[in-house]
């Protein structure tokens, strides 16, 4: 199969005994856009840390490209070159004194020389519009700027899989749009992108497939349309129905559109259907 990441019976509990993941079985396809959704405390962030080898599951396995994760320090370094993760809170991610130094952190760890790193930093900062922040100390950045810096620090390492924990958090609409555009660019480059989000309209529009977590269990892993048409599951997992889907169902009920017409992902799709 072309699953780039797969988990099997994944169980993880924190040191204080808090069980966070129960028997999680999911598969993420290479090059796809996957959204992980679930209520607060459902275990999304915990799952992400397992995929990157930071949380070592007490039971079960994580497979990367068909191979079990090797938890030796060398194996982990290799895994982390290929699977990058951007944390929910940018303050946790930024620890150097200047922006330039922080973006360089991963690159230098990967063994790039200073001049090679400089080169890459230059191009990523152009891409993320960070050029005039490079020499700023990190504590003098705004929340949105920090988020972009934390993105840059991971993107510059060019991992095959990029995991983003709530990329829209802390951002105003303009900056959120920029970040979503950047994410779109990543998938166009053929990267596998995994996102957690609480914004169902965004998930419907963006994701190819969805993983739904509830109380640490994976209750769904499949196509986005299938999830959002399944009312019972949505209710069970405490998720909202996207506005577009609500409208779509209403229009079917009123006989405006045909029963088996394709599920719209956004306003434009819906407009096309009505026409």
């Amino acid at each position: 199969m072309d699953y780039i990441i797969k988990t099997q019976d994944l169980n993880y509990s924190y040191h204080n005994g808090q069980k966070a993941l129960f028997d999680v079985d999911i598969g993420i396809k290479s090059g796809e856009k996957t959204a992980v959704i679930g209520h607060n405390g459902s275990g999304k962030s915990t799952l992400f840390l397992c995929l990157n080898g930071i949380n070592k599951p007490q039971k079960g396995d994580v497979f990367f490209k068909g191979k079990e994760i090797d938890y030796s320090s060398k194996g982990l370094l290799n895994l982390r070159r290929s699977v990058g993760i951007v944390f929910q809170n940018p303050d946790d991610m930024i620890f150097s004194s200047s922006v330039r130094q922080d973006i360089a952190f991963g690159l230098l760890n990967m063994g790039f020389s200073s001049s090679q790193a400089e080169e890459k930093i230059k191009s990523i900062s152009k891409f993320l519009n960070l050029e005039n922040l490079l020499d700023k100390p990190v504590h003098a950045l705004s929340g949105g700027e920090k988020k972009r810096v934390s993105l840059a620090g991971v993107m510059v390492m060019e991992p095959e899989v990029i995991i983003l924990d709530e990329p829209g958090a802390y951002l105003d609409t303009v900056n959120a749009k920029t970040v979503y555009k950047i994410i779109e660019g990543l998938s166009q480059k053929g990267k596998t992108v995994i996102i957690s989000s609480h914004n169902m309209d965004f998930v419907l529009n963006w994701a190819d497939s969805v993983v739904v977590l509830k109380d640490g269990k994976a209750v769904f892993c499949g196509r986005t349309e299938d999830l959002f048409l399944n009312n019972e599951l949505l209710k069970y997992a405490c998720l909202d129905e996207p506005q577009i889907i609500k409208t779509y169902k209403m229009l079917i009920n009123k006989g405006v559109i045909k029963i088996n017409s394709p599920v719209p992902k956004n306003i434009t799709d819906l407009e096309m259907l009505i026409k």
Partner: protein, 256 residues
């Protein structure tokens, strides 16, 4: 605050080692000679450099100059006092029997010297901290072959200070929004709560930060970007000239 001021490219790009050596020799010559005129000269030169190269607001200057100067003045003033069993030349106050709190010409001289020496050293430190970002200080650490552990520790602590300060500030603000300042008792209570939660939170934060470092291939050593600096000959000559002048003025002052 100090890091968010604008600094001219010219002075920022000068090799930090040169700046550090310059600042250190000025401070040393002030401390060794302790001659007020030399110190005044050093002080004025530093402020000319700072004001010419950094865009500081008047408000900030007042803030960073006034309080330390006040503090230094006060402590120097205290030094001029002496307790002796004879009457002072300038001022004396009987404490008990034969003992007086006195001020002598000697004491005043000492206080003046102390005041100017500290003020000059302080100005020089301001020069260094305004013109040298932290990364450059890391560079200085590296050139003097400071152990890697200390350099890394310095960098992480530097970052952590701001995180903890931010945390303390936002918690205090949140408490004040909920009437923590109402009475003395609630204030003390809120402060204790704030301190303990900052303690726990910063522990948590450090775990998160460690995870973030791991996820970006950290394996026990932090590498730093090499920086390109210019060794401006003009600045070196200027620096040597300034140090020389400070020494010269002090020596002349001492002779006469």
């Amino acid at each position: 605050m100090i890091n968010s001021v604008y600094v001219s490219e010219y002075i920022k790009n000068i090799n930090p080692n040169i700046k550090a050596v310059f600042a250190l020799s000025v401070i040393l010559s002030c401390i060794i000679f302790k001659e007020p005129l030399g110190c005044i000269f050093a002080m004025s030169v530093m402020w000319v450099i700072i004001i010419k190269n950094c865009r500081l607001s008047k408000h900030l200057i007042c803030h960073i100059v006034l309080w330390p100067i006040l503090f230094i003045a006060l402590s120097s003033f205290m030094v001029s006092f002496d307790i002796a069993n004879y009457r002072g030349e300038v001022f004396s106050l009987k404490i008990i029997n034969n003992y007086f709190l006195t001020v002598n010409a000697q004491g005043i001289k000492k206080a003046i010297r102390l005041f100017f020496t500290s003020a000059a050293s302080l100005s020089t430190m301001y020069f260094l901290s305004f013109t040298t970002p932290v990364n450059d200080i890391v560079y200085v650490f590296k050139t003097i072959k400071c152990p890697k552990e200390i350099t890394e520790l310095f960098m992480l602590i530097y970052r952590f200070i701001f995180i903890v300060l931010n945390m303390a500030q936002s918690i205090t603000t949140a408490q004040n929004c909920r009437m923590a300042q109402r009475t003395f008792k609630t204030r003390i209570n809120a402060m204790a709560l704030m301190l303990s939660s900052v303690f726990v939170l910063s522990y948590n934060k450090s775990l998160f930060m460690y995870n973030a470092m791991l996820s970006r291939c950290y394996s026990g050593e932090i590498y730093f970007l090499n920086q390109k600096y210019v060794s401006s000959r003009k600045f070196v000559i200027l620096a040597v000239f300034i140090v020389f002048t400070v020494v010269l003025i002090s020596v002349l002052e001492r002779i006469y």
